[in-house]
Subunit: 679 residues, 2 copies
């Protein structure tokens, strides 16, 4: 029996702490199993009763007369229950009980002990603090989730993995209300052992799952999830994520709520993209987007060079505009075979063409990448006018035909269900509809896995402590970054061979804020100036200067910042942004998983607004963005160095010229050192 | 009988073009009037029948034996029907027929003729291209809107005015599904005569209306709507707008759809704010926000100096985080009496405190400005756990107590209705909930009306043609803008009294792109340089230079741009933004209706990100933002000049110094001249 079988389709389940009081939460799992017609064996475990809700119960898992595949633990003494599981040979236990990593430092220690013991016993764990798992098609709900009080929802081909137990209920309940069915729903809780990544791997191989949804507060197992996302992509199963923690406030919440380490959102955004995971912005998009992606591959890469185009047919001008206006905000264009109007408006009886004919025409229209059908009042009471023709048009189209999204303006539950049944993506709000199309168009195949070839650490550089600027420049240079010509000049004569004018910088790994303490002087014109300024720097920084870094002055068209960070959550990242204060004030930076090639670096650069000045803005001379891309790709190779000793690195600024791009300031921080950087 | 009475509560209605075929759209008004139990008289007007759907019908309005208060015109021959209305003394006609401004240039001409004739006849017009009006409490629907096929919705205290007929149905249908009632719903169509502004004025005086919603594609009567918004504010009635055309694509659609002139969205955004109109971003927010605002005044101005704070109670961590994360993106903070956690999480049975007690505690908590209550699964089947306690807590609170918003994670229609009935704002999606709170906190009282005192046009300046830079500088100076010292130097000796270095500029109203054609030279050090450069400018621009503008060189800490525009849709506007390319690349500008005072100008400046460098960023010396505010306020007084002859004006750059802020380049374009500006 595989882990997936034990987790999703156990032949026998033990409910540890099952209550005989129907009103209690702990009575729910047994009630739900019975309600859903679970076909396997159920063993309620209850120390004080011989029978629970009509079933014979046992004092311990060890006493059950049949082998247990999956234990659901609801008691406070999780440790005792785990020992019993180990002794009884139970392969997997889901732990509902909380008070572990979700409960501060002491809970974290308890959790670590629990996991270590489970490993020793050979028991895999889902949770703690998990609401359980629901296998709809398999009629096997193992959960306390109150949502199952609803009528049994339809089974479908979408599975969802959630770091919030309640949100599973949200997705199931809202999905059911619009006729969307689900295959498996899994609450991962604290992910002490089995994490989101491992579950997605199982779902990628799961015959009943065609689309995988994720409700995330953070990512705890980036490498596993990346591998799983690749497997899902290979299996033709789209993976969609809704992730909290976009704001600092949200990140703080995610941490306090589940004891998770919150990753910086921009880093995870890059991570999702590069894993081929579609990220949605709105909660309902997660519920509604499935049919838009199911059975499809990520769109071609061409949207890097031109805007995606959506053809629109509608029976309501205002309704269509509410979606199209938002699409415009995302840079998506409306395309129409009718040159007169960007959308085809079939408002009440104004045109003879029937709705279905137009949908067919647009699905075949080569000038668009997707079709949006908007339906007004008729969606509520007269599905025959537009909704049924849409269903008919779609069912007549070849498989894998153009993506089709439907937005209906009125309250139209029956029409939503009708479309869901036909596998057509239907949206309740114009915002979720636009968000889904945006997400669809930004969907990418997983990045090429970094080549296995690792780079050696330059033997002449230390592997401990902070690198000084000269060492950092040297490191960057070995990676292939073009760096400014530098020399170290020693007191008292400060001899060097560089042509004037030069820049002087204090050379000390301990001074992090060089400029702020007067440790940098630019435009020194001659030897006399050099000596005077070396003395000044000594005075300003309070230390006699025995050696000083001398650099050629570089002039260019604009400044860039290129950075690298080995993120504890998302892994190695590379960043490029507009220089000066633009990156910081306007957050004008683009981030990707490292390493990147030059083509990808150039695509990143293309998304930085501030580089407009280097793209021939108002007649200015264009900058050498290919050279900048080489610098980005080169610095990103820090991710390939054996053992990944660098925590973060920054070339700031990189001077971009008409020909070439040169890093004039370098900072690299090793992992064994506290992070120090200019702020 | 007032216009409002004739429009909303006519004693007798003529249905011009009423069909006897129940399946036809034109049969709907009579069917709906009968379905809703309209108490007045109905006169179907039908040239070919003696009876329509059981009522005696007439060949013309002129033949009805009773006086008609309101005619609903559905026939192609609108002009003929209007003549009949005029002769029969009908005070108001609603025109469903389209083919006017919505149908291109010819239609526009037809519409202008129609309006002129209506004025001559003394008939007021709603439409053309109007779906009609629904007075729910008055049981008087005069509309073809298919939405009325639904069960009769509850009457309420919210009225809505829409430029899209279908969207009225959307709001009514979705509102009814969650128990929200409406008072009056009005489709204004092309607004040929009666516009949104005039309707809002009527609703501000309407006893049954407490909240006014607007669905807009543009604004056609800015001055009237501003007056109406003030009246609504004075009557304690919040006005909320959802407006399309935020993207360029959306603006293009709005134009093609209704023949409207689309205003620049940023201008209308400033307009709404300064009118005291709350603007929402999402369609469902428009439907759901009513109870959050009803009976309230705009929050205090203090949110300019500190972030708004929301206290949160929840039964689901993930559900609360989905709202709070988004609030964080809007700069809204979570506040809690419990120092340990930003939210109060009452997840299943973890705390003894009941939900209602916590809501009461938070409503009384002085550390927050609003309360957010989030409810998980229990909202669907067990309202007694959290939803009913919320209703009880709210009903126990004093009137006008803190604003309360509720978000429920599952499909929870009954709970939505329960809360609606109690007048509590309840939201279906975390996004609309956060959008509503954002909109609530950004709600402002209408700006102080500009003082009546107009300023004279400086007699020494021309009132026609383009002003040259010297004239523009002079104009700015008379308004109180600090401008650079300038002089005109004449060939051949170019004498002037300014100290060197100076800047030279070609002085010609015809050269719009001075810099691009080599018409500007900076940093001229002496008389020789002046003469040489004057010759160069002459060569570069292809004209001998008989006179040249000489200006002192100004040095400062950063550049700003200050602009003025008399927008054809929104009226006079003033703008301030970061200088250089920041305003353009990052759209880092703030716009308000002009004129503004210095305090308001300072508030605008506080919202420009790029001015961070002038606010002590990284130890830099602070800039004189008060002086910049004086320049903004001064330039905005262009709105007070008699006859408002200036179409647009720009001081770019304004050099901001440690003390003072000086405009070194000035451009003013009069209305009788084509717009020319540096691009």
């Amino acid at each position: 029996m595989t882990l997936a079988q034990a987790l999703f389709s156990p032949r026998a389940i033990a409910l540890v702490g099952a209550s005989g009081d129907e009103a209690k939460n702990t009575a729910r799992p047994q009630r739900y199993l019975s309600k859903y017609g679970y076909a396997g064996k159920i063993a309620p475990i209850n120390a004080s009763r011989a029978e629970v809700l009509g079933l014979k119960s046992y004092k311990s898992i060890k006493e059950t007369p049949f082998a247990i595949d999956h234990a659901f633990i609801m008691v406070g003494d999780v440790e005792g229950a785990l020992e019993d599981c180990g002794q009884a040979g139970v392969p997997v236990a889901t732990i509902f009980t909380d008070g572990f990593a979700d409960a501060g430092a002491a809970g974290m220690v308890r959790q670590q002990r629990l996991v270590a013991r489970a490993q020793a016993l050979g028991v895999r764990l889902l949770g703690p603090n998990s609401m359980g798992m629901i296998n709809l098609a398999g009629r096997c709900p193992i959960t306390v989730n109150a949502v199952l009080a609803m009528d049994i929802p339809p089974a479908g081909a979408t599975s969802i993995v959630s770091q919030s137990g309640t949100m599973l209920g949200t997705v199931l309940s809202r999905g059911a209300a619009r006729g969307l069915g689900f295959a498996k729903l899994i609450s991962v809780g604290n992910e002490a052992d089995i994490g989101v990544g491992e579950i997605v791997e199982m779902l990628a191989a799961d015959a009943e799952t065609r689309t995988i949804l994720l409700f995330l507060e953070t990512v705890r197992d980036a490498a596993t999830l990346e591998r799983a996302a690749r497997a899902a992509h290979a299996a033709g199963k789209p993976v969609v994520a809704y992730k909290l923690g976009r704001s600092v406030l949200g990140q703080r919440l995610a941490r306090s709520h589940t004891g998770a380490l919150a990753g910086e959102d921009a880093a995870l955004d890059a991570y999702f993209r590069d894993c081929g995971i579609v990220r949605v912005d709105m909660l309902e998009t997660l519920i509604e987007i499935g049919p838009l992606l199911a059975g499809r591959k990520p769109p071609a890469k061409e949207y890097a060079s031109r805007a995606p185009r959506v053809a629109v047919v509608t029976t309501t001008g205002g309704g269509a505009a509410s979606v199209v206006d938002r699409l415009g905000m995302y840079g998506i264009e409306a395309a129409s075979p009718d040159a007169q109007s960007p959308i085809i408006d079939l408002t009440m009886g104004k045109k003879a063409a029937t709705y279905g004919d137009v949908v067919n025409e647009l699905l075949a229209f080569p000038g668009c990448d997707a079709v949006l059908a908007v339906v007004g009042s008729s969606a509520q009471f007269e599905p025959q006018h537009a909704v049924e023709p849409i269903v008919k048009a779609r069912s007549g189209a070849r498989p894998g035909a153009k993506a089709l999204a439907v937005f209906m303006t009125p309250q139209a539950d029956r029409s939503l269900a009708l479309l869901a049944q036909a596998g057509i993506a239907a949206f309740r709000t114009p915002e979720a509809c636009a968000d889904a199309l945006r997400a669809f168009f930004s969907w990418r195949s997983p990045r090429q896995a970094p080549s296995g070839a690792t780079l050696p650490w330059p033997g002449e550089l230390p592997l401990r402590g902070q690198l000084n600027e000269e060492q950092s420049l040297h490191l960057f240079k070995t990676l292939g970054v073009a760096v400014v010509e530098s020399a170290i000049a020693h007191a008292p004569d400060y001899a060097h061979a560089l042509p004037y004018p030069v820049a002087l910088k204090i050379l000390s790994a301990e001074v992090a804020h060089k400029s702020d303490v007067g440790g940098v002087v630019l435009g020194v014109r001659d030897f006399q100036g050099l000596r005077e300024n070396a003395l000044k720097i000594g005075k300003a920084t309070g230390k006699p200067v025995s050696q000083i870094l001398v650099q050629c002055m570089e002039q260019g068209l604009a400044e860039a910042i290129v950075g690298y960070r080995d993120d504890p959550v998302a892994g190695p990242l590379v960043m490029v942004g507009a220089g000066g204060i633009l990156a910081e004030l306007y957050n004008d930076v683009v981030i990707r998983l490292a390493p990147v090639g030059e083509a990808e670096a150039l695509e990143m650069i293309g998304q930085v607004k501030g580089f407009e000045v280097l793209r021939g803005y108002r007649g200015r001379p264009p900058g050498d963005l290919a050279a900048l891309a080489r610098a980005v790709a080169a610095l990103s190779r820090l991710a390939l160095i054996e053992g990944r000793p660098v925590r973060e690195a920054e070339a700031n600024p990189v001077i971009v010229k008409s020909r070439g791009a040169v890093a004039v300031d370098a900072l690299a921080v090793l992992k064994d050192e506290e992070v120090k950087r200019e702020e």
